[in-house]
Assembly symmetry: C2
Homo-oligomer: 341 residues x 2
């Protein structure tokens, strides 16, 4: 009997094989891409939940408690923990992950941390790959946990079915801005550390903002043209005004509100399925993943060509820095060849 391929072993749920595939993807080995292609037709089964919010909001603890909740319900869980704060160490900082050690020996739980090490396709591309692998492994639920409030989160939100935005009472002035900006991404709000002063007020503020949104509707993006790229700010392009994002108060460290949070997520899932919006969201997920892939392929191809024809990128950059070369002309020239065929 032939030895099963890496793809077959991943599809059977083998943890070591999945971990190896993820490492190979990190190292951008060509075989890893081949395996990713082989598993692709078997993906699209996992339910993907995003968990995002500012640093210090307690997302890791919430994730920890959600894992326990889903495990108790007999579901297998994959976690993608993104730590974009470590560009140079080539990996995520493990401190927070220690909290998840309860699950370290549970074969129904697979945890993968991502840093922002040098990938042409960016962090969101790597996240999309890891979600695919966990999906192929047969995980029922995949939770994508992100730190920060930037464009990465908007991109990552395009990859999930239900986006949970985590906030806490009283983080300061800027938090108002975050809440306002992140409104359109959120399918569910968690006000964590709800045992602190101001939790009710934070929840009320969110509610008010959601009501304003209902009245005026989202402001459409101007000047965007036909195409939307990942990170173009149009997360969940199929806006679903029939859904009122619930606001759940939680205290992750004690487990308070976790069942309610899981119920709110489940309620959103049921809404997507009942309204048919799940199909539009699947298309949006596919679109975002495809654009991330395309962006990476194009850039790496163009840079190879540039190296062959024009010289090393650093030499080109040196000429640009001395204002001897025109970056616009160079970029136009490289891009025009694609268009002219």
């Amino acid at each position: 009997m032939a030895t099963p391929s890496l793809a077959e072993r991943v599809l059977s749920g083998d943890v070591r094989s999945a971990a190896r595939l993820m490492r190979d993807l990190d190292d951008r080995l060509p075989e890893a891409e081949t395996t990713l292609r082989a598993i692709f037709p078997s993906t699209g089964r996992a339910y993907v939940i995003g968990l995002t919010g500012a640093p210090g909001a307690g997302k890791s603890s919430l994730t920890d408690k959600l894992i326990a909740h889903y495990r108790a319900a007999g579901k297998t869980v994959g976690i993608v923990a993104i730590d974009p704060t470590s560009p140079f160490t080539g990996g995520a900082i493990l401190g927070d992950r220690i909290r998840m050690q309860d699950h370290a020996t549970d074969p129904g739980v697979f945890i993968r941390s991502l840093g922002t090490r040098g990938h042409l396709g960016g962090l969101s591309r790597s996240t999309a790959d890891v979600v695919q692998v966990m999906d192929a492994m047969g995980k029922d639920i995949v939770i994508v946990e992100t730190v920060g409030v930037g464009q990465d989160e908007v991109e990552v939100a395009e990859l999930v079915h239900t986006a949970v935005v985590v906030t806490v009472p009283g983080l300061g002035d800027d938090v108002q801005a975050i809440k306002a900006g992140i409104l359109e991404i959120a399918d569910v709000f968690a006000v964590n550390k709800a045992d602190r002063d101001g939790a009710d007020r934070t929840a009320r503020d969110l509610q008010t903002m959601l009501e304003v949104r209902h009245t005026v509707g989202p402001v459409s993006s101007a000047g965007g043209g036909t195409w939307h790229a990942p990170g173009d700010g149009l997360a969940h392009p199929v806006e679903d005004l029939a859904w009122d994002p619930p606001i759940v108060q939680t205290v992750a460290v004690t487990g308070q509100g976790i069942a309610e949070l899981a119920a709110a997520i489940e309620s959103h899932r049921a809404h997507l399925q009942k309204s048919g919006a799940i199909h539009r969201r699947e298309v949006a997920r596919a679109r975002a993943g495809f654009l991330m892939l395309l962006r990476e392929r194009l850039l790496s191809g163009a840079l190879e060509q540039l190296e062959e024809e024009t010289g090393r990128l650093d030499e080109v950059a040196g000429r640009i820095a001395r204002r001897e070369a025109d970056p616009y002309a160079l970029a136009d020239d490289l891009a025009a060849r694609l268009r002219s065929r």
Copy 2:
């Protein structure tokens, strides 16, 4: 006498013309690109300072006080305030900007806020453009203020000469991770709100982390290949271990420590010039800007071609979502044409 062109008016420092160019860039008008090209040879004079840190760290107040400092020294200042938290409103939230109203009537100060509205090239590309325009206007100093701690900040850090990382005492557990991750980006640290408990400890923690870094050195990115793209996590690729990032305690609201912060920035600038590292950093800036440009050009070109040949992106995404089309094959095919010429 011929009417001066928009480029000429921007180069003469005309505020209305610069504001119009920025709006045209936002709207991606082709003329705006032409103007950007025309001003390009006259750029490269401004000194660009990045100011980044978590929400609530008081970056806007610090920026405000730095403006006053530089104005008092007779320097003109441009500010690019990036608010990536507002993907849908198509612009930045203005709350924080109100604090800067002292400077609203000062012709030596030009403030521009950026949201994350739908740009193929992403937020960092828009930032690069605005920095170029302010540079062309003749601003002596350009300050780029970013909210958040994600990949955007790593990209934006590649565009600046001196990166100031702002932190505050006691923001919670996750802050440790941020500090550790952002170490390699920072040329100067500001511990703001230093009148709060724990400021000395935060400064000491930072110092300890910097010392560890000196001992073990940065961990290089594995598997990256030859090329680095914007956002590949290799901000300031020319790492400068001859520079010890100073740590300055500030209280932005009272102005305490602002002169020291400005002195630390000036000291880094002098170091770059004395050591010759300024040239390497200029090359790194040019490289990052060029790659952002190329990424945008390639993606928009490829998507036009896809639309012509394969059908609308949403239809393609629908086929991918139903697993009828292979996104890897589609992306490879589009990218291969560029390479095969």
